[in-house]
Symmetry: C2
């Protein structure tokens, strides 16, 4: 199977002109087929504030009412996504910006209200790989914004990490997938203040041990759990790293492996 | 050659929930391959005003400074475009939202400053039909927002009518293209206040005559001139109509024909 590199970057990387420039150069330098998923970042909050909308976050998740959905649709699907596309085209990378509604690639359902009503937030139900496979087989780079739809006309604000895992797993039937999560640290670290303590290779046993010891923190736990799940579901390689080394032949950071 | 219907609708149609609903149903009912181009509309002005940006129009064209470009990128490329996509998917129409930067389909250059500096406004240089042909051959409906790029990383606000003509002409090498411009009148009318005076068939001679007599007004002249040019450049049929009849086997309105 042909190799496919899937990179997830946070919205913050894309919002800053300089880090965006570097991202585009590094992403361009990756050989072979590739796909980018980007997060939201803070512009949506800035614009919502300027529009006098109330910004509410619960555990880092955005409460998305009708007006906020319009803002994230504008910012993630329009501003951020199209800036990346124009930038990639300038580097000769033929790319196309997508939400989960485009080509019907990611279908979600509005999160049921339990204790918290997240509003128009989507939980992923299904990935249709066909459209993505067609694009990749035509050497076109899909760039995915963190929005999905419910097939009934409703767009839904959706977690970019979840979308990345789901897309990587679906595409692993067609390609040998390397999945790279870029975040703000060099990898999973034994000491959060010392980058020399990055754990180069992590399996589930070691991960459980680190969770028990309280070394792996709350926000990191679902990211790693989903990474291990993706390995179980067909993804060949999963790396956790920062934006400085993701494009290397062998990224520096933490590689997740099966036991 | 296979038949392809290209429909241009103004942003106003898409902004209003009810007219958007009707548009989606009618567009869905068109048989065979199809492509939609949408204009901008007034939401960009509303949002710019809320963000305290100065809105400047000259002869109906928007002066697009850096901040205004961000607004139109958000609104046209994000909000308006993705609402259409989610709506079409709900009707079972597999579609993808594009700007000229996506798939590198429309390359423009920043309009040179003569008497007026329009800012980040693009004049179309080239259409790359490949990406659109690939999508259409896979039964995917391209939905194009009025933005292009300069291949150097710069997005450009671009006239939706011009984009429609350029795309129709480029695709006429691959398909038998019917081009339909939907605007707010039933067609070209002898008396602007009497819809029963719609001219069903218009050739260049008759058009010149109407211009001389002052019956065809300023805004309509370039629309019609470009329509005749598209006929000369390979497009099979050009109609000017409103949103009520564009999906008919034979649209009611004004058909442009060669002399």
């Amino acid at each position: 199977m042909e190799k496919l590199t899937i990179v997830k970057v946070g919205g913050k990387v894309v919002e800053n002109e300089n880090s965006l420039k570097k991202l585009l150069i590094d992403f361009t330098s990756i050989n072979g087929l590739k796909l980018l998923v980007h997060g939201g970042g803070n512009i949506a909050t800035d614009i919502a504030t300027k529009l006098n909308l109330k910004v509410e976050m619960v555990d880092g998740r955005r409460i998305t009412n009708k007006e906020m959905l319009e803002v994230v649709t504008m910012v993630y699907g329009g501003l951020v996504n199209k800036k990346i596309i124009a930038g990639l085209q300038a580097h000769g990378c033929n790319s196309v910006g997508l939400t989960g509604a485009d080509l019907n690639i990611i279908i979600a359902e509005k999160r049921p209200v339990k204790t918290i009503d997240y509003g128009f937030v989507g939980d992923i139900k299904k990935v249709n790989a066909d459209g993505l496979v067609m694009l990749l087989n035509n050497n076109i780079i899909p760039v995915i914004a963190p929005l999905t739809h419910d097939c009934k006309g409703q767009l839904l604000n959706t977690n970019a990490d979840d979308m990345t895992n789901a897309v990587a797993e679906a595409l692993s039937s067609y390609f040998k997938v390397r999945l790279i999560f870029c975040f703000d640290k060099k990898g999973v670290m034994l000491n959060q203040n010392d980058e020399s303590t990055v754990i180069p290779i992590l399996d589930k046993n070691k991960f459980s041990e680190l969770v028990k010891k309280g070394i792996v923190n709350a926000g990191m736990i679902p990211k790693l759990e989903n990474g291990f799940k993706s390995l179980d579901n067909g993804v060949s390689e999963v790396f956790i790293t920062d934006v400085n080394s993701f494009s290397l032949e062998k990224p520096i950071g933490t590689e997740l492996i099966k036991n």
